[in-house]
């Protein structure tokens, strides 16, 4: 049963493709999901160009003299996140969540209350619950809040999403840093 192509078998992010390891050693660090190789330079270039285009649209939409600096920053942030999610090609949950509800994210981030529940003590640590200790569970919950759209995921899915999200965020930081440096350099050149 495992001789069939694993790609066709589970293209969705639900199942773990462990049944056919010989087909699955991709060069990126990505695991079973056919994810975007966030580390590659090509990917960063794709993201940078998309981001540049989106930002150009944004600054043409709003007049350059934006009084509220904080809202401009937030717009840039939202644009960057949306472009990032679009670059992800919708294969991951967090990207779909970002694209689905951009407003929701900011409201949630504003009202980020730290809910410190007293640990509903699991008195017995049977082997079943051992792999999900309350400590780990609490941290997993925090993690689920940080990664967009991942609140109700099972633990392994959450970890998968988190790994992809971290790589994507790192690429986002790299791309935006490069863009910032470019604009800083370009600004001084233009004024000369």
């Amino acid at each position: 049963m495992s001789s069939l192509q694993p790609n066709v078998d589970s293209t969705n992010s639900e199942t773990m493709q462990r049944s056919n390891p010989k087909k699955r050693r991709k060069i990126g660090h990505s695991n079973s999901l056919s994810l975007v190789p966030w580390r590659s330079e090509t990917q960063q270039r794709i993201y940078s160009s998309k981001l540049a285009e989106a930002l150009r649209y944004v600054i043409h939409r709003n007049p350059p003299s934006l009084p509220a600096k904080s809202s401009a920053g937030r717009e840039v942030r939202e644009t960057a996140d949306r472009v990032l999610a679009a670059t992800a090609k919708g294969r991951t949950r967090w990207s779909r969540a970002i694209l689905a509800s951009p407003l929701n994210r900011w409201k949630l981030r504003r009202m980020h209350k730290k809910v410190h529940k007293a640990s509903t003590g699991l008195p017995k640590k049977s082997p079943e619950t051992r792999r999900r200790l309350p400590v780990v569970q609490k941290k997993a919950r925090v993690l689920g809040r940080l990664v967009p759209g991942c609140r109700k995921l099972t633990f392994p899915n959450l970890l998968e999403e988190a790994t992809d999200y971290i790589s994507a965020l790192e690429m986002q930081v790299r791309a935006m840093t490069a863009l910032t440096e470019l604009l800083t350099g370009g600004g001084s050149l233009a004024s000369a």
Partner: protein, 93 residues
């Protein structure tokens, strides 16, 4: 641990979550986090990995926020022409 990996039997969805899966995912996550990359995976508990993951993601969010603010200032201050020139330059690079 007994390998209870559900190969693709009749049900396509693996309902069991094995320890091996989780350990594997946790170790992959650990490799991504620069703080924990140097330490051996058997010395770092899952809770620590999760904690550092959360911290790392928060840091990345903060960096992105800072960069967004800087970018927004730069875009607002620079002339639209020079901004476009810079963007075009970035595409060519």
């Amino acid at each position: 641990m007994s390998s209870r990996r559900s190969r693709s039997r009749q049900s396509g969805v693996s309902t069991e979550i094995t320890d091996a899966q989780i350990t594997d995912l946790v170790s992959k996550l650990q490799q991504l986090i620069p703080e924990l990359r140097a330490r051996r995976s058997d010395k770092v508990s899952a809770a620590k990995v999760l904690q550092e993951t959360c911290n790392y993601i928060k840091n990345l969010h903060r960096e992105v926020d800072d960069l967004s603010d800087r970018l927004s200032e730069l875009l607002a201050n620079t002339d639209s022409n020079s901004a476009q020139a810079a963007i075009i330059r970035s595409l060519l690079m």
